[in-house]
């Protein structure tokens, strides 16, 4: 155990000293402010067009309209419940003088994960993941690493733990940086705004029976939790590729092709039966809590988690078997 700790410390130090994690953070620190600024200018332009004062009146009007419609006896109970929730949400904004159409730091941070989870975050993760084993081969240091009195599986496990640490850090830093930077532009308010979650599509129809109201910060954490699961799966599969190939560039190439190919597949051929079993189709786990339907039909959160779990376990098995048995020839 002490041994594993020392090994993991070695590996984390190597990633730090190699400056790979710096690159990841640098990318985040350049891209997030760019997106924030883009969003900010769009909103300013919109504001100039629409005018600042009339959103309260509009919102008040909406609430009255909706309350009116809820009186109708023809309305099904399901529908009524949703409208009730929407009214509550609108009242919240009105009471706190927040324009619901304007972005807050919480919304921006959530959107960043929602849109980044299928491609942007995986790309960040593979920077470290594809390098962590293959570089030992390409630099020849594997010969020293594997001739020390330590079992091979322990060395690989320490590398995997290191990867988990940096992947988790990447997700956390993304959240903190998004919130901090966007908060400067949009304000930090709105974190306790009531949000809906639990929309379902069952049998092709909209099912609102599971709809719940959550404070926004909880929804945000759910998004980041699910996004974390997706990135861990991508990290594990990149790790496997890193074990299988001998160079970082080759590993990056393979993972880029897989990720981009997978994204295209989901968009072009979502009802292709095999698409359901490919991990890239399930990376947008966040869609389940945000109420936007997943691009592939007839899937549920447990099903997606199962598929991702199988890929993760498969990737680990291949990695460990290959690494512990393979001849180190070059």
């Amino acid at each position: 155990m002490r041994n594993l700790l020392a090994l993991t410390r070695n590996e984390t130090l190597k990633v730090l000293r190699k400056r790979r994690f710096f690159v990841v953070i640098l990318i985040l620190l350049i891209l997030i402010p760019t997106f924030v600024y883009g969003q900010y200018t769009t909103e300013q332009r919109l504001l100039a067009k629409v005018g600042t004062t009339d959103w309260r009146a509009q919102l008040q009007q909406q609430i009255t309209d909706q309350e009116h419609r809820m009186q109708s006896p023809a309305l099904p109970d399901e529908q009524k419940k949703i409208m009730q929730l929407q009214v509550e949400q609108q009242k919240y904004y009105l009471d706190r003088n927040i324009n619901p159409k304007a972005t807050g730091a919480t919304t921006f941070t959530r959107f960043f994960m929602q849109y980044g989870v299928s491609l942007f975050l995986p790309l960040l993760v593979i920077v470290i993941a594809t390098d962590i084993v293959s570089s030992e081969h390409s630099e020849g240091t594997i010969k020293l690493l594997l001739t020390r009195p330590v079992k091979r599986w322990k060395i690989l496990l320490s590398k995997y733990l290191t990867l988990l640490i940096y992947t988790t850090l990447t997700v956390m830093i993304t959240m903190v940086a998004c919130y901090a930077i966007s908060g400067l532009f949009f304000g930090f308010q709105g974190w306790d705004a009531p949000m809906f979650t639990g929309f379902q599509i069952s049998g092709g129809t909209f099912d609102a029976s599971q709809v719940k109201v959550l404070p926004h910060w909880q929804l945000l954490l759910m998004n980041y939790g699910l996004g974390w699961i997706s990135t861990i799966v991508v990290a594990t599969l990149s790790f496997m590729v890193s074990v299988l190939v001998r160079g970082t560039a080759a590993g990056m190439g393979v993972m880029l092709a897989v990720l981009i190919g997978g994204n295209i597949l989901v968009q072009l051929a979502a009802d292709f039966p095999i698409a359901k079993y490919i991990f890239t189709s399930h990376l947008r786990l966040t869609d389940y809590v945000n109420g936007t339907p997943l691009p592939i039909p007839d899937v549920t959160l447990p099903f997606s988690l199962c598929i991702l779990g199988l890929w993760l376990v498969g990737g680990l098995i291949v990695s460990f078997i290959t690494f512990t048995r393979r001849d180190v020839l070059a």
């Binding site: 002490r2 041994n3 020392a6 090994l7 410390r9 070695n10 130090l13 190597k14 000293r17 190699k18 400056r19 630099e139 020849g140 240091t141 010969k143 020293l144 690493l145 594997l146 001739t147 020390r148 009195p149 330590v150 079992k151 001849d327 180190v328 020839l329």
Partner: protein, 319 residues
């Protein structure tokens, strides 16, 4: 006690054998690269592993340190089987396989710390000690990418010595060293063997180098051991070019031709004859010459290590 346990105890407790290789074989694809290689390396000796390019030295070393699995055969380090008791076996070994590749983006010291952590029980004082041993104090806190090849070799050796191994394995360690560096390394290796009782296993493709550094040598050619002997024996039985400065030259020529065949004896100057023969033959021929009344002014023996090496290894080019 039955005979099985007796054999077991013998191999386990005999302290003299640091490395034992038995019936080693490696087949990659359809090619058999190593064929039935066996030898023992004893504690306190410098053991040379000599062979031309492509003979299979590096492949054998990779098997010894557990980087690749043998197709057949058994390797024991300090009595521990490398396959079944990897950890115990590797505790006794320090090695450099081919080039001393270390982490270029870290300093020499950080590299040593890295490998010390893998061993578990190495103190900072020990790291300092090995740094001084290989005379790297001045540059140890610089990044390895700024080191010259010779400095990397030194750092590689420092790394190999960290865990106070009983067996040191060096694959062509003089690669990239200047003459002063080679000499220093040679003396260093001899010192380690003599003073600390280390067994040192050195691969090389130069007989002259092995002759100066090693006690015993295994000669490898085309993946097979040609012989395992002491270096003196090879030189003594190998063919040398001998030059006699004698008078009268005709008598001498007749005596030599009688013993060695007329083709072998050549006159290169008024009083000078040359012939190819072994060291032992040289002594007996000198007696015969004197017996025949020939005055010998001088006898020059030129070690023809290169030819000797080619002869032993069959002079083949890369297999």
């Amino acid at each position: 006690m039955n005979s099985r346990t007796e054999v077991f105890l013998l191999t386990r407790t005999s302290p003299a054998v640091a490395l034992s290789v038995q019936g080693l074989q490696k087949t990659i694809g359809k090619r058999t690269i190593i064929r039935n290689v066996s030898f023992d390396v004893h504690q306190g000796e410098v053991f040379g592993f000599l062979g031309p390019n492509g003979a299979g030295k590096t492949t054998t070393i990779r098997m010894i340190v557990g980087l690749i699995a043998p197709t057949a055969g058994r390797i024991c380090i300090g009595g521990h089987d490398v396959r079944s008791e990897f950890i115990e076996a590797m505790r006794n070994v320090g090695c450099i396989v081919e080039n001393p590749e270390l982490y270029k983006y870290m300093t020499g010291w950080q590299n040593l710390e890295h490998f010390a952590a893998m061993l578990g029980d190495v103190t900072d004082e020990r790291i300092q000690e090995v740094v001084q041993l290989v005379k790297m104090d001045a540059r140890i806190h610089d990044k390895v990418k700024t080191y010259s090849l010779g400095m990397r070799q030194r750092l590689g050796i420092a790394q190999a010595l960290l865990g106070r191994p009983k067996l040191l394995i060096l694959d062509e360690p003089t690669n990239g060293l200047d003459p002063a560096g080679i000499r220093e390394l040679r003396e260093f290796i001899r010192k380690l063997a003599a003073e600390e009782g280390l067994a040192v296993f050195v691969s090389s493709h130069m007989l002259a180098e092995v002759q100066m550094m090693c006690d015993r040598v295994a000669i490898l050619s085309g993946g097979e051991i040609v012989k395992v002997t002491s270096v003196e024996e090879i030189v003594a039985n190998g063919v040398n070019r001998v030059e006699w400065n004698v008078e009268p030259v005709e008598t001498a020529r007749r005596v030599l031709a009688e013993a060695l065949g007329a083709d072998n004896v050549q006159q290169i100057a008024a009083t000078k004859l040359i012939a190819s023969l072994t060291q032992t033959e040289t002594a007996s021929l000198n007696e015969k010459l004197i017996g025949a009344g020939v005055s010998i002014y001088s006898v020059t023996v030129q070690n023809q290590l290169e030819e000797l090496f080619l002869e032993i290894t069959g002079g083949e080019s890369i297999a």
